[in-house]
């Protein structure tokens, strides 16, 4: 069952084509890894799907319904939510309030009071004991968890994780990976995640989608993608690819 799909999704900034006719498919309940070298267009792709920016061309469909060009807040209501590469907590609200304000607009109304939904999300990410703290007192990992809890509280069907593991220490990274898997398993949320930390994304993802300079160059299981010479070329240059092939 396809949860999310993009058709020829394109974004041009003046003369630069950041994303070029990408056809991405996200199946129900899967974790899709989105990888590519720096500047490949991963964040732009995310931003279009989540509604932060408008596509120049192409379509985005959620469960078969058009969501192309919906502004960010409408995308959230529809069930698509994203986290940010550089976390953006609401500094003037406590941890609990940060998540409650997201829960108020939950995609599934009536599934309990906003406060309860917020509490659940915070328990799940492990911040249950910090409800009254302000985000400035949390560590980076803590703030990333907060960002995640906030996204969860909106009751999404699709969760876009933008470099969630970047910048945290290896122990934390392992915990995050387990958390992401739990999110998918327990809540049935489909996840697209981008990462530079290869081991994390390769072990977590059911499938991987590779972009380079705005175009999609490969798609498949982690093993398939790693062996794909086009992918190796994109990351390491054509010589390395030739070497790997020989």
């Amino acid at each position: 069952m396809t949860r999310l799909l993009t058709r020829n999704l394109t974004k041009r900034f003046g003369g630069l084509c950041a994303v070029d006719s990408v056809n991405l498919t996200l199946r129900e309940g899967e974790i899709l890894g989105l990888i590519g070298p720096n500047g490949a267009g991963k964040t732009t792709l995310f931003s279009m799907i989540a509604g932060s920016i408008q596509p120049t061309a192409g379509e985005i469909l959620l469960d078969g319904h058009q969501v192309t060009g919906l502004p960010a807040h409408r995308c959230v209501r529809a069930g698509i939510v994203r986290t940010h590469q550089i976390v953006r907590p609401f500094g003037n609200l406590t941890v609990l309030e940060n998540v409650v304000v997201a829960a108020i607009h939950a995609h599934r109304p009536g599934a309990g009071h906003a406060r309860d939904r917020a509490g659940e999300a915070l328990e799940m990410v492990g911040l249950g004991n910090k409800l009254d703290h302000y985000p400035s007192t949390l560590t980076l990992a803590g703030r990333k968890r907060l960002e995640l809890a906030r996204a969860l509280a909106t009751g999404p069907r699709v969760l876009l994780l933008d470099e969630v593991v970047a910048g945290v220490n290896p122990t934390e990274a392992v915990a995050f990976a387990a958390l992401i898997r739990r999110i998918r398993d327990e809540r049935g949320i489909s996840v697209v995640m981008t990462e530079h930390v290869m081991p994390a994304i390769m072990s977590l993802s059911d499938r991987v989608f590779v972009v380079d300079r705005g175009k999609q160059i490969a798609e498949g299981t982690p093993q398939e993608v790693v062996a794909n010479p086009a992918v190796v070329a994109a990351y390491l240059g054509t010589e390395a690819a030739a070497e790997a092939a020989s």
């Binding site: 502004p71 960010a72 807040h73 609401f90 500094g91 003037n92 409650v100 304000v101 703290h133 302000y134």
Partner: protein
């Protein structure tokens, strides 16, 4: 999390409000000086206006230097309704409020702006309104202004109308602040884009608050017009008028629900004092106060009060500092 009207704090506020309003309501009956009676009326009107300004400036975080536009519109519309249609006075005020609210809605494009861009645009809004309305003599009487048919009984009763207004506006302030709406506004204030990313439409809520704030401002303007019995565009839409709301809210405590109350009291008191002894210093004094508040106590008088309260009272449960 409780609804805004539940809990011990809410109860305390309700009790305090009822007591204060009752006391103030009874004062004139007991017998007070006519001068004080009028000054209190003015104070109530000023507080209501400042509270309404604070919804935009404090809760949403968009500093408006142009609220005088809505104030002036409310005043002139209500005056016209009185003069041309002879409607009962309170109805005229409501008419002014409605038109001011619609005007605020029309200013929607401004709300797409953030921070300094918005603020400067509101300076433009205020100035443009002043010029346009001074030019529109048929409506506002130009530089000669309009005189309102307010008899002394009405002026006396204004005290209670204003008291009711300020009471309602105060309740609304607290209601907004403590409710989920207030939370959303704070989120927008902190980071409008991140708020959108969790489903909150900054444009919608800013529009809502701007219209509400504008309508109440228009209502205050209407009452003020009745109080003065004479209004003139250069004064009503003037720069001084516009900044008085900013000053009151900032000095009293921007963003805090009842900061403007403190600020308004201080403002009116200082104005009375200055008008008698040093009338040409009040701009500079307010400028100085603004500077001091920004640099040393961002929450103004309320912040000072809280600091003292913290030294004296029990510790607050929250950990860390809100930004």
């Amino acid at each position: 999390m409780m609804a805004w009207y539940q809990g011990p704090q809410a109860r305390r506020f309700a009790v305090a409000l009822v007591v204060v309003v009752a006391l103030l309501g009874v004062l004139p009956v007991i017998g007070i000086d006519a001068y004080i009676h009028n000054q209190l009326t003015l104070l109530f009107i000023t507080i209501a206006g400042a509270l309404a300004w604070n919804w935009m400036g404090g809760f949403v975080g968009q500093i408006s230097f142009g609220h005088a536009a809505m104030f002036g519109i409310g005043a002139f519309v209500s005056a016209r309704l009185m003069l041309s249609l002879h409607l009962p006075v309170p109805l005229c005020w409501l008419g002014g409020a409605v038109v001011a609210g619609v005007f605020a809605l029309g200013a929607h494009p401004l709300l797409r702006l953030r921070g300094p861009y918005f603020s400067i645009a509101t300076i433009g809004l205020g100035e443009a309104s002043r010029l346009v309305f001074t030019f529109w003599e048929k409506f506002t009487g130009g530089s000669s202004g309009l005189s309102l048919p307010i008899d002394s009984i009405m002026k006396y009763q204004l005290y209670w109308y204003a008291l009711i207004l300020v009471g309602l506006v105060a309740i609304t302030s607290v209601a907004i602040r403590k409710s989920s709406l207030g939370l959303k506004l704070l989120a927008i204030k902190a980071d409008a884009d991140a708020a959108a990313d969790v489903g909150i439409s900054a444009t919608f809520y800013q529009d809502l608050i701007f219209v509400l704030s504008g309508a109440v401002m228009g209502l205050t303007g209407g009452m003020y017009a009745s109080y003065q019995s004479f209004i003139e565009p250069n004064d009503m839409f003037g720069f001084d008028r516009a900044i008085s709301f900013v000053l009151i809210a900032v000095i009293g405590g921007v963003g805090v629900s009842l900061g403007p109350v403190l600020g308004a009291v201080v403002f009116v008191l200082v104005k009375i004092y200055l008008l008698t002894s040093h009338p040409d210093l009040y701009l500079g004094l307010y400028g100085l106060l603004l500077i001091l508040v920004v640099l040393f106590e961002p929450l103004g008088l309320t912040g000072l009060y809280r600091r003292i309260a913290r030294l004296v009272g029990p510790k607050r449960p929250a950990v860390g500092q809100a930004k």
